[in-house]
């Protein structure tokens, strides 16, 4: 048992956990035909069968049952405000499975030239709202209300010590649904993690219908016809959103250090967090001249890098790797798309730069609160 816990703790180290996720993610949700080939070869398509559902459910439940026997795990998961996250983990898994299961079924139907499950023959297949829908709604409401009552009776809402501005709790966390953002704060300055990236998330979400110009797959579950959009969305939704929330909630402990789910939250734990900026790499390590006094000169490398990333990379990609996509989307859609994607990718990129090179900022101008 201890070995198992230790294994889990080790596996949940951010470098391992995140790398592992990145590695297999696109094989589970293949964005291109190539990935899909491997997806099938690796038998990941079997994930969405009923059998897999039961297996994974049992594993998940089993993990929680075992986990809850551990006091450290219990301390984190049973914190009242973290309880919704446990629910979220199950729900996200369940609904991902449910949607993907239906999507694969429909894909098969389409392949066989048959109408999808949702296909109906208007107006003959229509049903009356009264009583069918209204009744179903009523029952759902009743059941859900009962569930809410049980939840409320069973779990008292948290109330900690009275507010004290001079004693911050360790760790001080935002509400769980913002912990994805808070996790980003480790790698980005607040203006990026707290303002720019969330704004881009909102903008990106709102832009989805305008970027995704694939006609197929409207009004029914499907995967094959829209695998790129689903893969990207899933990456954002499952990894950058939900996984980061789980990491922020469960795996971040005192001093915002990483702790495995079965690790004791030792506030004295020390991690080597010394970081340096790109300019220091260039001038101090590279040229050993010391930092120039002129800000622009000092940060020119980072600025070039960033400009290149956002200005040169997109046309380059449009000519090469993403040629098909570019042609399908057109200039305007492509530009918006690629900027959003590149912005989202800055997060994993910065994570790896931090882990591998201890890089703090690519551009660091604290004088004007501009760090990137």
């Amino acid at each position: 048992m201890e070995a198992f816990k230790h294994l889990i703790d080790t596996l949940s180290k951010p470098t391992i956990l995140v790398s592992f996720t990145f590695l297999i993610f696109f094989f589970i949700f293949p964005p291109t035909d190539w990935f899909e080939k491997w997806h099938r070869r690796l038998k990941f398509d079997g994930l969405w069968s009923v059998k897999s559902f039961w297996i994974i459910s049992v594993l998940l439940v089993g993990f929680f049952v075992i986990g809850l026997s551990d006091s450290d795990f219990r301390a984190i998961m049973l914190k009242p405000d973290n309880v919704p996250i446990a629910g979220l983990i199950f729900l996200v898994f369940f609904f991902t499975w449910l949607s993907m299961n239906q999507a694969y079924n429909n894909d098969k139907l389409i392949e066989a030239g048959q109408p999808v499950d949702e296909q109906y023959d208007a107006p003959n297949d229509k049903v009356l709202v009264w009583p069918d829908l209204v009744y179903v709604e009523l029952i759902t409401i009743v059941l859900f209300s009962a569930f809410m009552l049980v939840w409320s009776i069973g779990l008292p809402a948290p109330l900690e010590e009275p507010a004290n501005p001079s004693e911050s709790p360790n760790p001080a966390k935002a509400p769980w649904y913002f912990l994805g953002l808070q996790e980003m704060l480790v790698y980005f300055d607040p203006w990026m993690a707290g303002v720019v990236l969330p704004s881009l998330i909102i903008v990106g979400l709102m832009a989805i219908p305008y970027l995704d110009n694939v006609k197929e797959g409207s009004g029914y579950y499907s995967f094959k016809d829209r695998k790129l959009s689903i893969a990207i969305f899933m990456f954002g939704w499952l990894v950058l959103w939900n996984l980061l929330i789980v990491i922020g909630t469960v795996l971040r402990g005192p001093n915002w250090n990483f702790f495995g789910p079965f690790e004791f939250w030792d506030s004295h734990k020390v991690e080597a967090l010394t970081n340096i900026n790109l300019s220091e790499f260039v001038y101090v390590k590279g040229m050993s001249t010391g930092l120039p006094g002129n800000i622009l000169l000092r940060e020119i490398w980072g600025i070039i890098l960033l400009l290149g990333y956002f200005m040169i990379l997109p046309p380059l990609l449009a000519k090469t790797w993403l040629k098909n996509l570019f042609e399908r989307l057109g200039v305007a859609r492509y530009s918006l798309f690629i900027v959003l994607i590149l912005a989202a990718l800055t997060l994993p990129i910065k994570m790896y730069l931090r882990w591998m090179f201890n890089l703090k900022y690519i551009i660091s101008i604290p004088e004007y609160f501009f760090n990137f």
Binding site: V270, A272, T274, V284, K285, S288, T289, G290
Partner: protein, 1012 residues
């Protein structure tokens, strides 16, 4: 085509209307912004800014001039120039060093970074090793890593430190080159600091001094809408968390914004500026950060009242001082009283009222003379007799006891006195109950005549017998007059012919502690006076009159003098006959509350005239509350008849009955109180066009009955101030004067001291000694004007000052002295009376008061012992001898060498009376302790060479010569050793009888200024 069939309005017309209405709307928005922007306080801030600029400019100018005049400044300037030249000449060297530093620093940066990384890894390794020791992890491997990293860390640290050392060395080189320049610069900065600060301030506030960008910023910061960013003109406020404004349901922290307009209020230098910019007086006492009442902790309205959150003249509830001011404000500032706010600002003349909120137990007299005067009036006038007032619970009744009145005076006098007390004695505290506005009509006069008869009848009927001692002889009135003037009567009493002081003060009131001693012939008998002054408590145990231990002869003389004066006119005042019918009417009124009409008739029929008189008298004493001030038989447990006043000023103004005087006096609490105290029964009246009054229809028993005290305007203001201070505000203990042992002792002591009027005779810390002018005039009588005008002489014949008394005397002796006063200063004619009514507890309270006030906290001290063989004693003997102590001081029964006028205390008393530490203090500089004393500081030969000291003063003094303190101790030890009889009163008496005081007449005093 537009389908015109479905249209009603012409679209172009609608467009036009839309344009017009939108334009109007937009314009009105402009108005809205202008309206919000235009705040009344802004013009004051703009004006104050100009004032401040002007002042700062002046200050800068003055500072510059100062600097120019400063010789150091020009010297330093030259020095800087020279140093700069020197530095410039070595520019190349400097540049090469600087470039070296730059290179080294780059290297250092890199090395430091390496060290940082190593250190971070090392810290982790340390943690891991600790964890391993704790059982989590591999002990061996972690230790290995740790030791490896430790080596790495220390190595990299060393690397960094080596370079750091080099950088430092290079920097030092630079420093040396620039040293003289830096020193000169620092020096010049230091001397021009004041000016620099002023200039910096000016640049901030004066647009003319600003850079172009700042000039624009200066405008932009105050434009509408943007004026939230960093406005120059802004509402200023202080929030005081623990002083609360009473919002009825709850207290709310006080917020004062007065300084928004009163911008100079806490800044020095605007004393002469016009309102609202004037500096607050006494910043060291109020508002100043180091004062006891800093602005940030006490705010403004806590003392001044008003609506602190108000930011314009009216909404902040300003109150004018007088009608003229009100009129001026109305004209200039469109002022009107703020309605719907119950605590408008106190007019300046009543502002001391607020001191009472926190300092109710101890009025700091120096800082609130009006309040102190008001409190004295409340105490002497006996307001607390009829009105329950917190803090006066145990105060004795202010009027004389009337239980033995028949022995003292006659019914005739009593009648006339009650009817018109001030007719007999102008400044008496006995108020007028009769002859008032609401009882001046014929009917009332008829009635009140009989009321007085009844009261007098009751008093005399109940009067107990008073056994009086017979006088041995008639006494000598002239002697009596001298005695009255000299033994100390005048500390509490005024006599015939003294002029009333125009402006009263607490000190002048001390001489009204007892009644004026005038026209006693009209009032009482010589025998009574004789007996009274011989033993006041014998007549009335509750009296505060002390016993002056007068001999029989003295008492006879004094009584002969006092009885000699009569007021014939007063005696001739008419005294109407008893009118039984009228009496019946009064009696039926009184009875009607308990009996039916037919029962009343029956009851009256069964009573004799005397019975009726006594019955009515008793009832009326209750009705008028005579018992409140006088001890009267039958009213031992009677309750106060007036409104309780402890929180009177917190009453809602609607609860004050302005009656028909709504338009006659301003509608404020203080104006009502003042009117009420000035003419208590006025609110029974209906004012007429021609300034006469008509009386309201009222049952005689329901009429207002508060008596008339005849206070002058100054006294009225003082009393009103006190009443305005009786509020129910709850003050947090953090804001109150500390309730420590010292303050409590001082309060208790001061209360007794006030009660027994100690300061009528004694001055304590500069306050009191009211008797001194009378002593001066007595000296004028027995000697001449020159002596009477000499302050030192007057002081030496006055009751002693009690400064430092707590440090000065031994408490045991003091208690003994209090209980049985003996002679200390042989030349004093004035006597310390015996206060028989004071208990040991009272005396201890007073002793504790002195001790704690003067910082003497040790309850017990080792007695000081003196060895007569010691160097100290012997040296003291010499110094005392050389200094001529015996010129003025008795050594036991050895008389001083000089005349009685300069005599001082018997030194034989020293050992039991004084504290040794105090004597040193005293010898150092008597003037510090007793300003004006005739005691000179003893001469000690510290400044003379040892050899000559040895020669002239002897070897003992020479031994101690190097330490002045030791020499003073020597004198102390010598006086400590003076022995002999303590009581020299007989010798003194005999001497005075034989030789008199020996005043130096005409000759200039040859002591006063000589440095002896």
């Amino acid at each position: 085509m537009i389908n015109q069939q479905e249209r009603y309005y012409n679209i172009l017309k609608l467009n036009k209307w839309f344009a017009i209405s939108s334009l109007l709307f937009a314009f009105i928005w402009l108005l809205a912004f202008a309206n919000d922007f235009n705040r009344p306080w802004k013009k004051y801030q703009i004006e104050f800014r100009e004032l401040e600029i002007e002042k700062t400019r002046g200050d800068v100018q003055a500072a510059s001039t100062n600097l120019e005049l400063n010789e150091d400044y020009s010297v330093l300037k030259a020095q800087i120039e020279m140093a700069q030249n020197k530095v410039d000449s070595r520019q190349e060297e400097i540049e090469s060093i600087e470039s070296d530093i730059q290179k080294l620093e780059a290297k250092l940066y890199a090395k430091n970074q390496i060290y940082q990384f190593a250190k971070a890894d090392y810290d982790v390794a340390k943690y891991n090793f600790e964890q391993a020791q704790h059982g989590n992890g591999n002990l061996l491997s972690t230790e290995k890593i740790l030791s490896k990293l430790e080596a790495l860390t220390s190595a990299s640290k060393l690397n960094a430190e080596v370079i750091e050392g080099k950088v430092e060395a290079k920097n030092n080189e630079l420093k040396i080159i620039r040293q003289s320049l830096k020193e000169a610069n620092d020096a010049i900065t230091a001397i021009s600091r004041d000016k620099d600060l002023l200039v910096r301030k000016l640049i901030k506030i004066d647009p003319e001094e600003m850079s172009f960008a700042n000039k624009i910023g200066n405008i932009v910061r105050d434009v509408p809408v943007l004026d939230f960013i960093d406005p120059y003109y802004e509402v200023k406020q202080v929030v005081i968390k623990d002083i609360e404004d009473d919002m009825v349901f709850m207290g709310v922290p006080k917020v004062d914004r007065c300084m928004t307009c009163h911008m100079g209020i806490d800044k020095n230098g605007f004393e002469e500026a016009p309102q609202p910019y004037t500096t607050h007086p006494k910043l060291d006492l109020y508002l100043g950060a180091n004062s006891p009442h800093p602005m940030n902790e006490y705010g403004c309205t806590g003392c001044h009242a008003g609506r602190g959150r108000g930011t314009n003249f009216i909404s902040s509830a300003h109150s004018p001082n007088n009608p003229e001011m009100a009129e001026r404000w109305e004209k200039k500032l469109e002022w009107h009283p703020l309605h719907h706010w119950d605590t408008p600002m106190l007019p300046m003349k009543y502002v001391e009222a607020s001191c009472l909120k926190c300092h109710s137990n101890s009025i700091p007299i120096k800082d609130s003379p009006k309040l102190a005067l008001g409190m004295t009036i409340v105490e002497k006038g006996g307001c607390f007799g009829c009105h329950q007032i917190d803090g006066f619970e145990n105060t004795s009744k202010p009027g004389p006891g009337l239980r033995k009145i028949a022995a003292k005076t006659t019914k005739d006098f009593a009648y006339k006195w009650i009817y018109d007390p001030r007719g007999f004695r102008e400044n008496t505290w006995m108020p007028h109950f009769f002859k008032q506005v609401n009882s001046q009509d014929l009917e009332s006069v008829k009635r009140t005549d009989q009321e007085i008869h009844a009261i007098v009848s009751y008093l005399f009927d109940r009067s107990e017998a008073f056994k009086m001692e017979k006088m041995q002889n008639k006494g000598n009135a002239d002697n009596g007059r001298m005695l009255v003037n000299s033994v100390g009567c005048l500390g509490c009493h005024a006599t015939e012919g003294e002029e009333q002081v125009a402006l009263k003060s607490v000190n002048s009131m001390r001489r009204e502690h007892g009644p004026n001693l005038i026209n006693l012939g009209s009032k009482t008998t010589q025998k009574w006076i004789y007996n009274w002054i011989r033993d006041p408590q014998g007549y009335h145990s509750g009296t505060k009159m002390p016993n002056l231990r007068l001999s029989k002869q003295e008492a006879s003389d004094i009584s002969a003098f006092l009885i000699g004066q009569r007021d014939k006119d007063f005696e001739k005042n008419p005294r109407p006959e008893v009118d039984e019918n009228e009496l019946n009417l009064i009696a039926s009124d009184l009875l009607s509350s308990i009996l039916r009409k037919n029962e009343i008739t029956a009851r009256l029929g069964s009573m004799s005239l005397d019975e009726k008189l006594n019955y009515v008298g008793g009832k009326l004493i209750r009705q008028y509350g005579c018992f409140s001030c006088h001890d009267i038989d039958g009213f031992e447990d009677a309750k106060p008849i007036g409104t309780p006043l402890s929180t009177e000023a917190s009453k809602l103004i609607t609860k004050l009955d302005f009656g028909y005087f709504h338009d006659e006096i301003p509608h404020t609490k203080w104006d009502w109180f003042k009117q009420k105290v000035d003419n208590p029964r006025i609110f029974d009246m209906i004012p007429q066009e021609d300034h006469s009054y008509k009386i309201k229809v009222k049952n005689p028993l329901d009429k207002l009955r508060m008596p008339h005290f005849g206070l002058n305007d100054q006294e009225l203001d003082a009393v009103t101030t006190v009443i305005m201070g009786w509020v129910k505000d709850e003050i947090p203990t953090t804001k109150l004067p500390a309730r420590n042992e010292r303050n409590i002792a001082i309060e208790a002591g001061e209360k007794l001291i006030r009660q027994y009027n100690c300061q009528g005779c004694h001055a304590i810390d500069g306050d009191g000694g009211a008797i001194q002018p009378t002593i001066a005039s007595w000296i004028g009588d027995i000697a001449d004007e020159t002596n009477a005008e000499d302050r030192g002489t007057v002081l030496s014949f006055s009751p002693p000052m009690l400064n430092t008394e707590g440090r000065k005397v031994q408490p045991d002796w003091l208690l003994k002295f209090f209980k049985n006063p003996t002679m200390i200063r042989p030349n004093l004619a004035v006597r310390m009376p015996t206060f028989k009514m004071m208990s040991d507890d009272d005396w201890n309270t007073i002793i504790k008061y002195f001790q704690l006030k003067d910082g003497q906290t040790l309850p017990y001290e080792n007695p000081h012992m003196v060895n007569k063989q010691s160097t100290s004693y012997k040296a003291g003997d010499v110094i005392a001898d050389m200094g001529g102590c015996q010129n003025c001081h008795f050594y036991g029964n050895q008389k001083p060498r000089q005349a009685a006028v300069t005599w001082g205390p018997n030194l034989a008393l020293t050992k039991e009376r004084l504290r040794p530490e105090w004597l040193i203090e005293w010898f150092k500089d008597p003037q510090v302790i007793m300003p004006g004393t005739k005691m000179p500081a003893p001469y000690i030969p510290v400044d003379e060479p040892v050899a000559s000291v040895k020669e002239v003063w002897g070897k003992n003094v020479a031994k101690l010569h190097s330490e002045p303190e030791k020499l003073l101790e020597a004198i102390r030890d010598f006086t400590w050793g003076v022995s002999g009889p303590v009581d020299v009163s007989k010798i003194v008496k005999a001497h005075l009888a034989r030789e008199g005081y020996g005043f130096v007449i005409e000759d200039d005093d040859d002591w006063g200024d000589e440095d002896w």
